[in-house]
């Protein structure tokens, strides 16, 4: 085995173990990508190539799948993941404005991560908590009936938490 290959084995040992324990490799691609993203946080090119080799599917197919599903990301997410529900109920109750405010305050667009890797911002499809619309999720924490004026406060709250070494809000 070449040096780079053994290096990858070490790096991707956890997903390798998962793949080894699969009852069948048939149709396993999406499931393996889910697991890989859970383990490594995101799906960089090298990891996708590794999975392509392990499942014996073309790399283009892996990339085609990764680029198809909005759940998969090729970029690492920020320490603090802010998500806004963009379901219909949230939309008609002003989620668009709240999202814009977050974009303005964080200086990034939905789907992006701040350069300091602290925050990432995402617009989600319905999270099914329509009575709380508009809904903002920070990690597992739910902010219901969110308004634009709350935005700065939410960001500051999590800035402070992270400054105290609170880590992610999972």
């Amino acid at each position: 085995m070449s040096q780079s290959a053994s290096c990858l084995t070490e790096k991707y040992g956890e997903i390798d173990k998962y793949i080894d324990n699969l009852p069948s490799l048939r149709g396993a691609l999406v499931t393996v990508l889910h697991q890989a993203q859970t383990i490594y946080g995101y799906l960089p090119e090298e990891l996708q190539l590794h999975i392509a080799r392990r499942l014996n599917v073309p790399a283009a197919q892996v990339y085609g799948v990764v680029s198809f599903y909005s759940f998969f990301t090729m970029e690492p997410k920020g320490q603090c993941a802010i998500s806004l529900c963009m379901g219909t109920a949230c939309f008609v109750l002003g989620a668009g404005g709240v999202l814009q405010e977050f974009e303005k305050e964080l200086g990034i667009k939905a789907g992006e991560t701040t350069p300091d890797n602290l925050f990432s911002l995402d617009a989600l499809r319905c999270v099914g908590a329509c009575s709380l619309a508009p809904v903002v999720l920070v990690g597992d924490k739910v902010y219901g009936k969110a308004t634009t004026s709350q935005v700065r406060g939410i960001i500051e709250e999590h800035m402070q938490r992270m400054a105290k070494g609170g880590g992610s809000n999972e």
Binding site: E45, Q48, L49, A52, R53, V57, P58, A59, A60, Q61, V62, Y63, G64, V65, S67, F68
Partner: protein
Amino acid sequence: MNNNDEVKKVNLTINGTAIAVAPGTVLLAAAHQAGVHIPSLCYLNSDEFQYRNSVGSCRVCMVEVVGRRGLVPACSTTVYEGMVVRTDSLKAIRARRTMVELLLSNHPSDCLICERNGNCQLQQMAADMGIRSIKYKGAVSSHPKDIESFSIVRNPDKCILCRRCETMCNSIQSVGVYSAIGRGFETTMGTAFNKPIIETTCTFCGQCVSVCPTGALSEVDATEEVWKLLQAPGKVVIAQTAPAIRVALGEEFGMEPGSVITGKLAAALRRLGFAKVMDTNFTADVTIMEEASEFVHRFQHGGKLPLLTSCCPAWIKFFEHQFPDLLDVPSSCKSPMEMMGALIKSYYAEKAGVDPQDIVVVSIMPCLAKKFEAARPELVSSKGHSDVDIVLSTRELARMIREAGIEFLSLPDEEYDNPLSDSTGAADIFGTTGGVLEAALRTAYKMVTDEDLQAVEFQMLRGVDGVREAEIPFGNTKVRVAIANGLANARELLQKVQSGEVEYHIIEVMACPGGCIGGGGQPYTKGNMEILRRRAAGLYAIDSAKTIRRSYENQAMLTMYAEYIGVPYGEKAHELLHTSYVRREDK
């Protein structure tokens, strides 16, 4: 099925015409019987090559079925008893037209300067429908063009997502370079991580280009460079022509597929300004001498078997990616094109007293992978020059002939130039699947048994089936041979060999369905496999018309061996006519 229990036909009417067709027929095919043409773009089917692109994605074949809500795609709707179809209702006509308009609304309108101008199925459809304006204008997607490879140019902006290339690359070639990437309006056909195709496992077989209905995929155009070199002072520009060209080029000038235009080809090249016109057929015979010798050597000395033919550069690159641990299995013979390049720049150069550095070898090939092959570092001579400088596809040559204003049909038949042109019938059939093996057997038989093979035609090796095999008696021994065309077939065959399930002495592989006659650089067939059949028939006809059909009887070649190379598979032969392979990434 015997005639007695012939399956009952299905009755239906299309635009008021009653017809009866076999059950399972799709409307698109059934309509022809009613004298109705339904336009289609993404649909492409060839049962012979197991190619089936029936994805129903372009929707330009929508028709009305009375009693059904909405419209149905004729390409993927099967007939049923009593079906009443209208392809001519206003609703259907408008829907089809709108589909084309939508495609055009997200398509560059630079038809006049497009590679496929005049040969584009989308353009043809817009013309047929008389589209004069784009009704629904809006954003046009824009993606980087990939011009980095030696063989294929990809312009995703011209892609209509018919998925033909993807189907070809995945199911026929098992290479899987392409996938749809992203989703929604921004969906494109792309490579892994949108890398340039040169960085992928692409074999450059060019079959994706062959099936592309638009200018999204095309060959790297070398005509401009050739024009310049033909005019460059001090350069001796020498052409060589592959076997499969001579039965296909005529189509570009309105001739029937399979028409043999060897003489006109030589004449055209001379009129374009080539100093000499050599024939790759000559080195096809040389390849047989080398490969048969190598085979006999391995056969008699317990070397690695099976011997895998190495004429096809797409197959070789495929092998390097997919079977990197078996690099010593394929024949070490260079391809006939490369052998010709090497001989022009050594044997011929010495004979003619020309400095090899001044020689430019331009190969006319049915193939796009040959462009990649010519650029392989392994195929640079010890003196630092490439065996072959430029490769033109059949289509590119046709463009040059047209541009030069040469009236191809009225050209006289001319001879090729010596000393590298004479060939036996064995060389001609190199252009079709099974041909290389058949040619090799004619010579190997002699080498093993020391007898001349009398019945030189191996009918069981001919045809287009994906994998064919036979057992040929060589005196007391039997030689087991197999042929694969299409890389997925080759992969499957190789895997069976690897697992020990089957054993062969020689395997011939050609990447393209049908062999070089169906190469990625040939005139577009638009899925009409009958054209390939006729090209193959053309080659077999040339062979059978020749009196000398066994390579070892090629006198010019024997002279060359005597004057220059010495013995086949000898030291000089190794230097000039053999090569080595490299391990490549598998994904």
